[in-house]
């Protein structure tokens, strides 16, 4: 089944709250090899002016990919994950994510284009605090090979 171009422009309702935990930040920092003590030690994070341990710059992908599931796991969207390659990713941090954050994400499908049997799907996850304060914008593009490619 082909990727449905009709999803472009779609905006999903806000997700359930994602509560950022200290141990989750520590595990993520360990996994990417982020050695800075501000990921693990609350005292160090506070000495840098943050209220709690700081997430590594790409941690927002954990939050964004949960929101993206609303779209990519929708069978009618036509995204066959066995044919997906991650093309690009960009994070814009309005402020760093810290432990204790309660984040709500609104997912947008910014573009669905197709050429030469390759569909390019661009999503934008707008991550905010429960109060609406912008936290991070995560733009992700997937390339989906067609059946014959």
């Amino acid at each position: 089944m082909a990727v449905d171009p009709g999803y472009a422009g779609r905006e999903y309702p806000p997700t359930d709250v994602y509560e950022v935990g200290r141990e989750k930040i520590r595990d993520f920092a360990d996994a990417v090899g982020a050695a800075h003590a501000a990921h693990r030690d609350v005292g160090v994070a506070r000495s840098l002016g943050y209220p709690d341990v700081v997430a590594p710059p790409t941690f927002a992908v954990v939050v964004a990919q949960r929101a993206e599931q609303q779209y990519v796991a929708d069978p009618r969207a036509g995204i066959d994950f066995s044919r997906v390659v991650h093309a690009d990713e960009r994070f814009t941090h309005h402020r760093p994510i810290v432990a204790g954050d309660r984040l709500v994400t609104v997912l947008h499908v910014d573009a669905v284009t197709e050429r030469a049997g390759l569909a390019m799907v661009t999503t934008r996850a707008e991550i905010a605090g429960e109060d609406g304060e912008p936290v991070s914008t995560v733009v992700s593009t997937l390339a989906v090979r067609g059946e014959s490619a």
């Binding site: 990417v32 090899g33 982020a34 160090v44 943050y50 790409t58």
Partner: protein, 148 residues
């Protein structure tokens, strides 16, 4: 313990010029690291830990998560800046996969170079060269860092 994590010398914007190589790093990645990243990130795509599945979809074998490579590369920038919270923008293109052997490990080399200085905004753009065995695996890898 001391609560002073910041290195004695944090980079200062006025001292930086386009073309300066500010940091380099060499990062090893093995299969266990990918399993760890899968758990930490929630990305359990089997091509990152199951040889059979990776080959079935036409890959040479298990490959690293692109997001692992992206996340590992920027640690070089965060360590240089002395504060991981000052990376205000970071984008990459995933140009080539990083095959991860078993047994053994792949090695990813990172070089961070100043690509632009914006004195008004108080930011620098750090351009990252990220290569595995001499092949660039990320394209247009750029991090914007806020400095004082």
């Amino acid at each position: 313990m001391t609560a002073d994590a910041a290195p004695a010398t944090r980079p200062v914007l006025a001292d930086l010029a386009v073309g300066d190589v500010v940091a380099t790093g060499r990062i090893e990645v093995d299969r266990a690291r990918l399993v760890r990243y899968a758990g930490a990130s929630g990305d359990f795509n089997a091509i990152h830990w199951n040889e059979r599945v990776a080959r079935e979809v036409g890959l040479p074998g298990v490959i690293a998560h692109g997001m692992w490579t992206m996340g590992a590369a920027v640690t070089v920038v965060a360590d240089w800046a002395g504060d991981p919270g000052v990376v205000v923008d970071y984008g990459v293109r995933f140009t080539r996969p990083v095959p991860v052997p078993d047994p053994g490990a792949a090695v990813v080399d990172v070089t961070a170079t100043i690509g632009a200085v914006d004195a008004d905004a108080g930011t620098v753009r750090v351009d990252l060269t990220v290569a595995c065995e001499g092949t660039r695996v990320l394209g247009k890898a750029q991090a914007v860092v806020r400095l004082r």
